[in-house]
């Protein structure tokens, strides 16, 4: 009886087409926003904000991006790390060249640059499908990382090959690099993620999102009913890369502060983000957040339990950790292959009837 839509009448088209047509959904979203912007910054200390909330939000953004491509449009991509690197290096070059533009426009610009690169690497998807495409996207991963390692222009010819984020301010507060306060960083990232999560939800239910889903479900049938695969697939690559590029920019400029392409953006990043969307739920905005939260929190928890709880030495703990992560992933895929978002959906069904069984 808690989650029941009976009695919520729609009197006009605007109500009917609202982003969250059911009142309870609206309350949940508003509550989540209040928690994110009101409660979390008050309750959590600097360590938690910096070590857990920032990576959680940034990976959520990346997972949203990959979910658009893989979950909504059905194109498996293993190039996420490479696209994040594009975003990071784009924002670095822009921050050095045009610091007067302000940080948020620069992040959006670097997202757009990544979108252009992403649609270029999305071109093979018109010809190649399935796992052949997944492996082909690895080409972008390795090529981009190699490019950022070898071409000095990208890291301004410094000797180490690392990029370091110059301090930038917003409303007089430093928000990038190691000097920035975790609180300001948190508010910045949370705002960007919240806005673009709503945008993603909106795109996904609109015409373009429906085109993607048609392509995902069966591309030949979609083509026959008039979805143009060229536009649908490339737009999915572009929008997805836009999100991933922004995530990469924030990952480098706000969270890490300095980055080295082979370390920070290697293939394990691609797998990590892919795991997030599989465990969270393919084709679900909520799932991207759940998956990111699960995979950011779990290793930290495991490490704390092993090292602090049992006093395991850290080298052995690292091995046990990677083993446990792998095992948990397998267990998860066996128990709920549709991800955490599916559990939420089942819970909503139950809540609709509760306390009655039928």
């Amino acid at each position: 009886m808690i989650y029941r839509e009976t009695g919520q009448f729609k009197a006009n088209y605007a109500d009917d087409q609202a982003l969250f047509p059911i009142a309870q959904d609206r309350y949940v979203v508003i509550a989540a926003l209040i928690v994110a912007f009101g409660v979390v910054p008050m309750v959590l200390n600097q360590y938690w904000l910096n070590a857990i909330m920032l990576p959680f939000l940034i990976y959520s953004l990346a997972a949203l991006g990959l979910n658009i491509l893989t979950g909504y449009c059905g194109q498996v991509s293993l190039g996420t790390g490479g696209f994040m690197a594009v975003g990071a290096f784009a924002v670095y070059k822009l921050m050095v060249a045009f610091p007067e533009l302000g940080f948020i426009p620069l992040v959006i610009l670097s997202g757009l640059i990544t979108a252009a690169v992403g649609s270029l690497f999305g071109l093979p998807s018109l010809r190649i499908k399935g796992f052949y495409l997944a492996v082909a996207t690895l080409a972008s991963q390795f090529f981009l990382i190699w490019l950022f390692n070898k071409v000095g222009w990208f890291f301004n010819y410094n000797a180490t090959g690392m990029i370091t984020s110059p301090p930038m301010t917003m409303f007089g507060v430093i928000i990038t690099g190691p000097e920035g306060s975790p609180m300001a960083k948190y508010f910045l990232v949370a705002t960007i993620v919240a806005v673009f999560a709503l945008v993603a939800k909106n795109i996904a239910r609109g015409r373009i999102g429906r085109n993607w889903m048609a392509i995902r479900d069966m591309d030949i049938a979609a083509e026959l009913i008039g979805v143009r695969p060229l536009i649908a697939k490339l737009s999915a690559f572009a929008v997805s890369s836009f999100y991933i590029g922004m995530a990469g920019a924030l990952y480098f400029a706000v969270w890490l502060g300095s980055a080295e392409p082979t370390e920070a953006f290697d293939i394990n990043q691609s797998f990590l983000v892919l795991f997030m969307i599989i465990i969270g739920g393919l084709g679900s905005v909520l799932g991207s957040f759940l998956g990111a939260g699960f995979l950011v929190l779990m290793p930290i928890l495991l490490k704390n339990i092993l090292v602090d709880g049992f006093g395991t030495d850290s080298a052995l703990a690292a091995h046990i950790e990677i083993m446990t992560v792998g095992a948990l992933i397998i267990i998860f895929l066996i128990v709920e292959p549709h991800g955490l978002a599916r559990l939420w959906r089942i819970a909503k069904e139950k809540l609709r009837l509760w306390p009655f069984p039928y």
């Binding site: 893989t70 498996v76 093979p124 010809r127 190649i128 499908k129 399935g130 796992f131 052949y132 997944a134 492996v135 082909a136 690895l138 080409a139 390795f142 090529f143 990382i145 190699w146 390692n149 070898k150 071409v151 069966m218 030949i220 049938a221 026959l224 293939i267 797998f271 892919l274 795991f275 599989i278 080298a315 052995l316 091995h319 046990i320 950790e321 990677i322 083993m323 446990t324 992560v325 792998g326 095992a327 948990l328 992933i329 397998i330 895929l333 066996i334 292959p337």
Partner: protein
């Protein structure tokens, strides 16, 4: 000209080494439609176990190899029992992600059991340059690479006989063709999967021995899986000859690019060149060189 031949030959030999890894992928993909990302880690795990048996238990080589084969078969049985059995009928991407999880587990397990330091593997494969080739044709080739090529050839012949002539081989091909039809004529899918994972475990052991003798047994061995992927898409996921020929094309292309193109762009091409080469091939043949033609119906 001699230099060109030398580069080409060493590329061919390196390609055969990639093929050894790609073979394991093809076997599993053919029989179960699973894209097994853990193949590289399986090679690492097999090599680690072999070295562990030889060094820590002081077994002779032949006993250690038999022991490792037994371990790989047991591993295949456990994988089928714990993982595959519960993932029947899932989407390919879910199975793929599960094998990545498996790769993590095996990596951690190998390190916990045998330690993560670099180990030398010496089972008496001849090392150094081949004198005969050097004297007769003035070409430098590693003996190890010739040995690897010969092993790969033997392996492929064995696999071909196994697939074409034996009862189990026929069952394997039936399963590869159509799971349901195979089930309906009384072939047990579970047994077949154990067998196929065992066979690819043994192939992984061979690959692990070759790569381990070449560059020591260490974590980076598992990264050869990434080298084998372009070989796979070039040759086609379902073709054993494709894996061999794809490996050679990739090996030669990579070496030639490194030698003749590398100096102009700053080197380290080998990380991505193979992928770009495979991608270029795919644009003309989306199912790989020898892959089965993809027929799509609405």
């Amino acid at each position: 000209m001699t230099f060109f031949i030398e580069v080409t030959l060493s590329g061919l030999m390196a390609g055969v080494m990639y093929s050894l890894v790609a073979l394991g992928f093809v076997l599993i993909f053919k029989a179960s439609g699973i894209f097994n990302f853990a193949q590289g880690v399986m090679a690492l795990f097999a090599a680690l176990t072999l070295v562990g048996f030889m060094d820590e238990f002081g077994m002779p080589i032949w006993l250690a190899i038999i022991g490792t084969i037994a371990v790989m078969i047991a591993l295949a049985w456990v994988i089928e029992r714990v993982m595959l059995r519960h993932l029947v009928n899932q989407e390919p991407i879910i199975l793929f992600m599960a094998t990545i999880g498996l790769a993590y587990v095996l990596e951690g397990l190998g390190d916990i059991l045998w330690g993560s330091d670099v180990k030398m593997l010496d089972i008496g494969i001849p090392q150094g340059a081949s004198d005969w080739m050097l004297d007769t044709f003035d070409i430098y080739i590693e003996k190890l690479e010739i040995f690897a090529a010969a092993t790969a050839a033997t392996l492929v012949i064995f696999l071909a006989i196994f697939f074409q002539k034996t009862r189990i081989g026929r069952a394997l091909r039936a399963v590869a063709d159509d799971h349901q039809a195979a089930l309906s004529v009384g072939i047990s899918l579970h047994t077949i999967w154990v067998i196929v994972w065992s066979v690819s475990g043994i192939v992984a052991l061979v690959a692990g021995i070759m790569w381990g003798s070449k560059s020591g047994v260490q974590f980076s061995l598992s990264l050869i899986a990434l080298k084998a992927l372009p070989v796979l898409i070039l040759g086609g996921f379902t073709s054993v000859p494709g894996a061999i020929i794809g490996g050679m094309i990739i090996g030669v292309g990579e070496k030639l690019a490194e030698v003749y193109l590398g100096p102009f762009v700053g080197g380290a091409l080998e990380n991505w060149f193979a992928y770009m080469l495979a991608l270029a091939f795919l644009l003309f043949r989306p199912q790989g060189l020898f892959g089965e033609r993809i027929i799509e119906r609405v």
